[in-house]
Amino acid sequence: MSSIPPGPRMIQLDGYVPLLGASEVAELRALASRLQGRTVQMVNSTSVGGGVAEILNRLVPILSELGLAVRWDVVTGGDDFFEITKAFHNALHGGPYTKPPESFAVFLAYTEQNLARLSMDAEFTVIHDPQPAGLIKARRHNSGHWIWRCHIDLSKPNPIVWGFLEPFVTRHDGAIFSSPEFSRQLPIAQYLFYPCIDPLSEKNLELDPEFVQATLERFQIDPKRPILTQVSRFDHLKDPVGVVRAYQSVKRYTDCQLVLAGGGAKDDPEGGAVLEEVRRVAAGDPDIHILNLPPWSALEINALQRGSTIIIQKSLREGFGLTVTEALWKKKPVVASAVGGIPRQVIHKHTGMLAHSVEGTAYQIRYLLSNPLIAQRLGELGHEHVRENFLITSNVKRYLTLFLHLLGQC
């Protein structure tokens, strides 16, 4: 078990004041004033990479700055442990579970190892996802307040894996889900915490227009013609081929360009195959820019989103869809599939356009290209929607409110 000190980044809470207003930050301080010195322990399975670590990297320093005594721990294990938890993850999403029955004993053995190394004595313990779920065994006589934060879609889990994990989950005081669609009937309280983005992270911070321009030029994208962009890894579920088809349909009416920016094709055999298929369908069109970017390209992704005319997210299945959140925050008109958490963000005709097919996607893009004022209005309302509901500060507020609720204050 390794412990991560709070405060790895230098962004202070007051850094959010220009974006959100002093009153929003003052409100966080008012809520936190009742929780001064209270101990909080966050536990997950990695300190770098992945959405959970990204959120904790900001959440932990902010809660610390607000006066809570926050500790972030990471469970450790061998390759076999993480292979099993990866299989759990896929199975909880509804996939088959092909590991042998002994895999559950391996999971429990690593859980015991972690329990031996870790002191689980915080007043509020938040366990993120299935990997550390067994740590609930450390709880004695209902001591402290334990919450299980589920970042994945649990609506249709594989019954074998869920049957194994459920007894651990239901010993918590409550579970947090990212969307009501991802929850399931449980005998414990369930709370809704939307995923969030950090407006001050490299992916989302305001950029100098010259940097945006330079980035477009670097990738040989013409800033003078409309740019349609989808940011996602090269995965069948993100339907990049469908995006190319939609673009080809739009191109018959408007001279535009398509950017498919993503990663995961180098180290993922399936990603490589998808990338090849996309290249084949693109058929050498010079206006289709397929960018297979390394994981450290946050600023470039930010610039590509900001330089785009329309952002597309034509997923066939989706989690919450934080790339949509990022685009809305940048005031971009979005055309996206009505799957997963996307309809929570894209309220059709209010904060963006929803589509259900290649043809629908193409039509909505054409509509927005022909009606730039409407596109602009959608972008502005989308920005407000994110500001109210999907920023890291909203998440901080939810945690503070939850802790106060667990103390019986609401």
């Binding site: 009153s23 008012a30 209010h350 609401c410």
Partner: protein, 218 residues
């Protein structure tokens, strides 16, 4: 400068959203769900919706109406549900009854539509409210305006919209204090008439500030 006997105490509210185990997949189930769900759920889908989506002034103003329109294609019922003005209600029970009645009547008139599966299910959620004093108080209209300007949207919603349920009166915290604290009857009435459906929380507050400025310039 007119001074009140009692100061206006500014408070903010934070809401925790609970996912209930109840959902509806057609209009009939929606009606039954509304009948069975908690007051906290009615609050979430009506009063609190005006905070979460305050920046949208063109759509339906409660979640029930929005779902009926978007997932059930029931435009007439959606309009009926949207027309229920939360300002007219002093209790969530009364609001629940009217919502349920509108749905039941529609289902009786359109029995096929009542059982037609929706595109997406409706999830009943609940709001748990936590109010926190901000430690700001105003004894005069000048002081009140100063605080109003730096108030968060959540705090404005708490005093201006959610307050009806707390007060059990067809008014709001601001109007009540203008009237009883400062004796400003006309300002109280004008404030209470600000349309919370066609304004955002930001624009409603701007209107209120303009009313106060007019009052102060007299």
């Amino acid at each position: 400068m007119r001074t009140a006997d009692q100061p206006f105490q500014f408070v903010t509210a934070s809401y925790l959203t609970k996912i209930s185990n109840c959902k509806a997949s057609n209009l009939d189930e929606l009606g039954k769900g509304i009948e069975a769900c908690s007051d906290a759920s009615i609050f979430y889908h009506t009063f609190q919706n005006l905070s979460r989506h305050h920046f949208l002034t063109e759509g339906y103003s409660n979640d029930f109406a929005q779902w009926v329109m978007a997932s059930c294609n029931g435009h007439a019922l959606a309009e009926k549900l949207a027309s229920l003005d939360i300002r007219e209600y002093l209790s969530l029970g009364d609001l629940r009854n009217d919502l349920r009645r509108a749905i039941v009547e529609y289902c009786q008139a359109h029995p096929h539509g009542a059982l037609q599966p929706s595109f997406e299910p409706f999830y009943f959620l609940e709001s748990l409210e936590l109010s926190v004093p901000l430690g700001w108080e105003a004894w005069s209209l000048e002081q009140f305006r100063e605080s109003l300007e730096r108030l968060s949207n959540a705090s404005f919603h708490f005093h201006f919209i959610a307050s009806r349920l707390r007060l059990h009166l067809r008014t709001n915290d601001f109007s009540l204090w203008f009237q009883t604290g400062l004796g400003l009857e006309e300002l109280a009435q004008r404030t209470n008439r600000i349309d919370i459906y066609t304004n955002t929380l930001v624009s409603a507050r701007q209107i209120l500030m303009s009313f106060i400025d007019e009052e102060l310039s007299r």
